[in-house]
């Protein structure tokens, strides 16, 4: 027993050595983006400020659950990345601290708009459009035409070949749901989804899982964000990216400070950094392909060019409310994912 205690003491001292030795204050960040993106941003911020950042990557759902659970006594300071929608939810519930970064005027219109929808409690850091990705090898093998529009996806050709995440667990999928409802209308959208359900082989838990499955040939078509598709394509997988002809929705990744954060000053520094060209460059360097929100940021060369995509005027203000979300998800559960 004495030995193990020694071991653990040694391990703890090593643990504290693992962080940079020049720690100057601390900051706790929940990261909702992909792990490399989180790690790259953490490293860049630590290197610049010397603040000891502890960052954990969780899915946006887990982050929201944690922020809610801890609302009386928050243990985290900053929420960075992931689909912005849950941040709007948190803002609506009053879980976030309003903060107007000096960088705000440098941001693109959609990012500023996002901040105003969130009542200044969250700010847009990147955007990514929803798209259809298919595995070209499987497509050829099956000898079916490549899908070009949302409407194509309900064709018999793609029976059991499509994956999309479950909107109950994934922000990506909720964005898709809201997009379809905005593109068509309520009734039509759900008729479409019921038809699509016949072609869906699996509702995944995570938003980027469908395109990863498509990349590895586990499914032919995945509905995800286009920047995730680019990442797979860059890795060398036979993925082709389609911007649906009817138009498509998009997500805005946000950054926000948790209400009652213990390291509020450091949190503000982090938000400023995350909105700066320098901070936004970290993602591109880590191979991420979202479109950054700062006009001065360098757009990753491989990023899908948002200007060439037919984007809908996504109504964050309406579709971000708890009321609408409950309505859509309830309808989805009752009409699409029915279990008799």
């Amino acid at each position: 027993m004495r030995n193990s205690l020694l071991v653990s003491v040694a391990a703890i001292s090593l643990l504290s050595a693992a962080g940079p030795a020049f720690a100057d204050g601390r900051l706790s960040v929940l990261c909702g983006a992909e792990e490399p993106h989180c790690a790259a941003l953490e490293a860049a911020f630590e290197a610049k400020t010397g603040i000891d950042v502890s960052m954990v990557r969780k899915s946006t759902g887990e982050i929201l659950a944690q922020v809610r659970a801890e609302k009386d006594n928050p243990k985290v300071d900053v929420w960075w990345g992931g689909t912005g929608d849950p941040q709007l939810q948190a803002a609506e519930e009053g879980l976030l601290e309003p903060y107007t970064s000096p960088a705000l005027p440098d941001l693109l219109g959609w990012a500023q708009n996002f901040a105003s929808v969130a009542n200044g409690q969250a700010t847009g850091i990147y955007a990514g459009a929803l798209g259809i990705g298919y595995n070209s090898e499987l497509l050829a093998q099956k000898g079916v035409p490549a899908p070009q529009c949302w409407a194509d996806l309900i064709k018999e050709d793609y029976r059991g070949e499509i994956q999309i995440a479950d909107p109950n667990s994934s922000g990506t999928a909720y964005t898709a749901l809201a997009t379809l409802v905005q593109l068509f209308d309520d009734k039509e959208a759900f008729t479409y989804l019921v038809a699509l359900d016949k072609n869906v082989n699996s509702y995944t838990k995570s938003g980027s899982a469908p395109i990863k499955a498509a990349a590895r040939g586990e499914t032919m078509i995945g509905i995800s964000f286009m920047h995730d598709m680019v990442t797979q394509k860059q890795a060398g997988f036979p993925i082709e990216i389609v911007a649906p002809c009817e138009g498509t929705g998009y997500e805005i990744g946000g950054v926000s400070i948790i209400k009652g954060a213990r390291n509020i000053d450091n949190a503000k520094l982090f938000v400023d950094f995350a909105l700066s060209p320098e901070g936004q460059g970290a993602g591109a360097a880590a191979g991420m392909n979202q479109v950054p929100s700062n006009v001065n940021s360098v757009v990753p060369p491989e990023a899908p060019d948002i200007t060439t995509i037919k984007l809908i005027d996504y109504d964050f203000a309406t579709y971000g409310t708890a009321e609408y979300r409950t309505y859509l998800l309830g309808r989805f559960a009752e009409q699409v994912r029915v279990i008799e």
């Binding site: 643990l15 792990e35 899915s59 109950n168 082989n201 008799e340």
Partner: protein, 742 residues
């Protein structure tokens, strides 16, 4: 009497004077506390200083009670009346110290003058409470008639209190949230609505429908997995004990591997083999010209993944039973004209019944609680454990639904326990053979031997292939696409750089790696200690309510990890006991999740010790604590080592409970690996897992080498000694069990 009382009261008083009474952000081991003023700040003040610094006069009371106890301890021979008064005062002290916080939490009252405030209790309050608690048990032990050793009474009360706080209190929260009103429905209505939902109980998939309810899926899967793991486990147990299979050491090693494999990893390998693009699926698709489908995702994939993961557990359970059946019974059957096959059917298999029931139960429970395999391999196939997870973290966070699902899961496992008990009845054929029981186990008949080999050898080969693939996956650039060899995943996870500021651990995995190792290393000895203490109480002490006590200690094993995680968040996220976000909650979670293993191990080992050893020590003037320390513990060394090693491994590989409890500061390896898997970084995920496997292997073998050798020799001595003095362990046990008949 005076000494333990003085010590306990003095320690409590030290805590009262020197430790912060309320919870301190980041804890007192970080600079933040000192920077904020340490003990001299109102927030960080000790119990004593709370009055001058924060005007909390009510906090003088615990101090006064501790002083009183210190004075009482100096009384040479207190009368029974005085003791009763002291006990009353101490209990009152416990109440006034602990109750206001709970009152504030449950009723929402805010009465700062009486301490009814929402502040978490800190080190000082904990020390004072523990001190008063042990003072109370010490005084109480002296009050009653009977064999009341202060240490025994304290130990029983301590275990009961721990189980109450860390098993029942969180479970009560799950129960509470299950019946909390939601969405305009009353608590009972909404619970009923969830409970009877077709998304839980639909069986339409059996009749060609798309999907079954998740409760039905969980049950089906549990029974399938329990059956397959028990069958395979029995086959391997027979292979290891009743055949001349040449590579038995390899068998044991392979049995350990899945136990120390982090979740998800095997799932990934299975996808590469059996997924739509997997090599096996493709091979058969090419062969038959059929379309390679997604047949693997869903119940079949999860079943295979679980069978791979849990067969070793069944094997370890059954190998003990198969070895434990007295060979003379089998020999007797043979002398009575039964051939080998008939001996197996008529004698051996029926004698394995308790083992088979145990293995089945374990497989069932593990399958119900499993989280990783359904997540990776389940496709749209929902089971309760994943449903609970998404009820908590999904877009519509629904704690009530999570609570109801958790209750269903709990009922299923408890129901399985009950059925197993009913089925076994009083049948217990565990024939722990002493030295006196010579003879050789009957070998398998040719037909049985063929069957066993036909089942086990391919499965063994399959397991080996999986692990080779896993390792391969960690050294290729992009698994499934670019198979050029590289070490980049290891560098990415565990890179170390030498900079002018010193060593920089720039690998991404280091943070969570050290957290995992240190928290597991802290939890392991505590788990073993509490487990063995409980075992000692169960085997060597008699006290009121022992059967209930035993059930309570085993309960946390039946509670699935997901439920534990949810319950801990619900229970410990708010004052007075606020632990979320700390490493402590993870350690506690490990300790109480794995404690039953320590208890079972300790019980088994202690039954082998002749109880007259304890009695000899007692009659020679040692008290029960000294006896435990000087006589029992040294003899239990192998069990202790095993318990520590096992809890260490379980802590490292656990995921279902942990996923709710990790934070930025305290991230665990498994939670981190899930993130890697989710973002498709299979290479790094597998590299990280391989390192963990290696670390656990090194730790387990290291522990064996350091302590194992000495242990073995001692064990031999013990065996010889007992053999020479006639009472074999068997006799010792039967004697111990028949004490009441004397």
């Amino acid at each position: 009497m005076a000494k333990p009382l003085t010590l306990s009261a003095a320690l409590g008083l030290i805590g009262y004077v020197l430790l912060p009474w309320f919870g301190v952000e980041y804890g007192i081991f970080e600079r933040d506390w000192i920077d904020a003023g340490g003990l001299l700040s109102p927030e960080g003040a000790s119990g004593l200083l709370q009055t001058p610094l924060a005007g909390r006069f009510y906090l003088l009371l615990p101090g006064a009670i501790l002083m009183f106890l210190l004075g009482f301890a100096r009384l040479g021979k207190p009368t029974a009346g005085q003791q009763r008064i002291a006990l009353g005062v101490t209990l009152a002290g416990l109440l006034v110290t602990a109750a206001p916080g709970f009152l504030s939490r449950w009723t929402g009252l805010d009465l700062p003058a009486l301490g009814v405030i929402r502040e978490p209790l800190g080190y000082g309050a904990m020390a004072a409470l523990a001190s008063m608690f042990f003072c109370a048990t010490t005084i109480w032990s002296k009050l009653g008639r009977g064999n009341r050793d202060a240490f025994v009474v304290g130990a029983i009360a301590f275990i009961v209190a721990l189980i109450g706080i860390f098993v029942f209190y969180p479970l009560a929260h799950v129960l509470g949230s299950a019946f909390s009103p939601a969405g305009g429905r009353s608590g009972l209505e909404s619970a009923w609505h969830t409970l009877t939902g077709s998304d839980l109980w639909s069986v339409s998939c059996w009749f060609g429908g798309r999907a079954c309810g998740s409760a039905v899926n969980s049950l089906t899967l549990g029974i399938m997995t329990a059956t397959s793991t028990t069958f395979l486990g029995l086959a391997f147990a027979l292979l290891a004990t009743r055949t001349r299979f040449p590579a038995k050491r390899l068998l044991r090693a392979l049995a350990v591997l899945p136990v120390i494999t982090p979740p998800f990893v095997v799932g990934l390998a299975l996808i590469l083999l059996f997924g739509r693009a997997g090599s096996v699926t493709q091979f058969f698709a090419d062969l038959t010209g059929m379309d390679a489908g997604r047949w693997f995702y869903g119940i079949w994939g999860v079943w295979l993944g679980q069978t791979l993961a849990f067969t070793p557990i069944a094997f370890l359970v059954l190998v003990g039973v198969v070895e434990g059946v007295s060979p003379s019974l089998e020999e007797a059957a043979q002398t009575l004209r039964a051939d080998l096959g008939a001996t197996m059917r008529s004698i051996s298999l029926p004698l394995f019944k308790p083992g088979i029931a145990n293995a089945f139960l374990l497989g069932f429970i593990e399958s119900l609680a499993d989280f990783g395999n359904p997540l990776v391999l389940g496709g749209s196939h929902g089971v309760l454990s994943t449903d609970i997870y998404f009820a908590v973290v999904g877009a519509q966070a629904d704690a009530g639904r999570a609570g109801v699902l958790a209750l269903i899961l709990l009922c299923m496992t408890l129901g399985a326990f009950h059925v197993q008990r009913q089925w076994l009845g009083k049948a217990n054929y565990t024939t722990i053979t002493g030295k006196g029981d010579s003879g050789a186990h009957a070998p398998l008949s040719r037909a049985h031997s063929f069957l066993v080999h036909a089942v086990t050898v391919p499965w063994l080969a399959f397991t080996v292939i999986i692990y080779v693939m896993i390792f391969y996956g960690s050294v290729v650039k992009l698994w499934g696409l670019d198979h050029s060899l590289t070490l980049q995943h290891y560098v990415s996870a565990f890179g170390v750089e030498w900079t002018e500021r010193g060593l920089w651990w720039n690998g991404r995995a280091w943070d969570s790696f050290w957290t995992t190792i240190s928290l597991s290393a802290i939890a392991a000895p505590i788990t073993a200690a509490i487990g063995l203490l409980t075992a000692w109480l169960l085997i060597r002490q008699n006290f009121f309510g022992k059967a209930t006590f035993e059930f309570a200690t085993m309960l946390s094993f039946a509670v699935p990890g997901t439920v534990v995680g949810v319950s801990y968040i619900l229970a410990f996220n708010a004052p007075p006991v606020e632990l979320t976000g700390t490493g402590i909650i993870l350690v506690l979670c490990f300790v109480f999740r794995n404690m039953p293993v320590g208890v079972r191990g300790g019980v088994a080992a202690m039954k082998q010790l002749d109880p007259s050893l304890d009695e000899a020590s007692l009659t020679l003037g040692a008290n029960s604590f000294q006896t435990l320390r000087v006589v029992i513990l040294p003899l239990l060394r192998p069990a202790i080592v095993a318990a520590i090693a096992y809890s260490f491994i379980r802590a490292i590989t656990s995921v279902s409970a942990v996923i709710f409890l990790v934070t930025a500061d305290q991230n665990m390896a498994t939670a981190y690996i899930i993130g890697l898997v989710e973002s498709g970084e299979y290479g790094v995920a597998i590299a990280y897992s391989s390192v963990l496997i290696l670390v656990m292997l090194v730790v387990v073998t290291g522990v064996q080498l350091l302590f194992g050798k000495r242990t073995l020799r001692r064990e031999n001595r013990l065996g010889q000694a007992q053999g020479a003095i006639a009472p074999t362990p068997n006799q010792a046990i039967s004697e111990a069990e028949h004490v009441p008949a004397r």
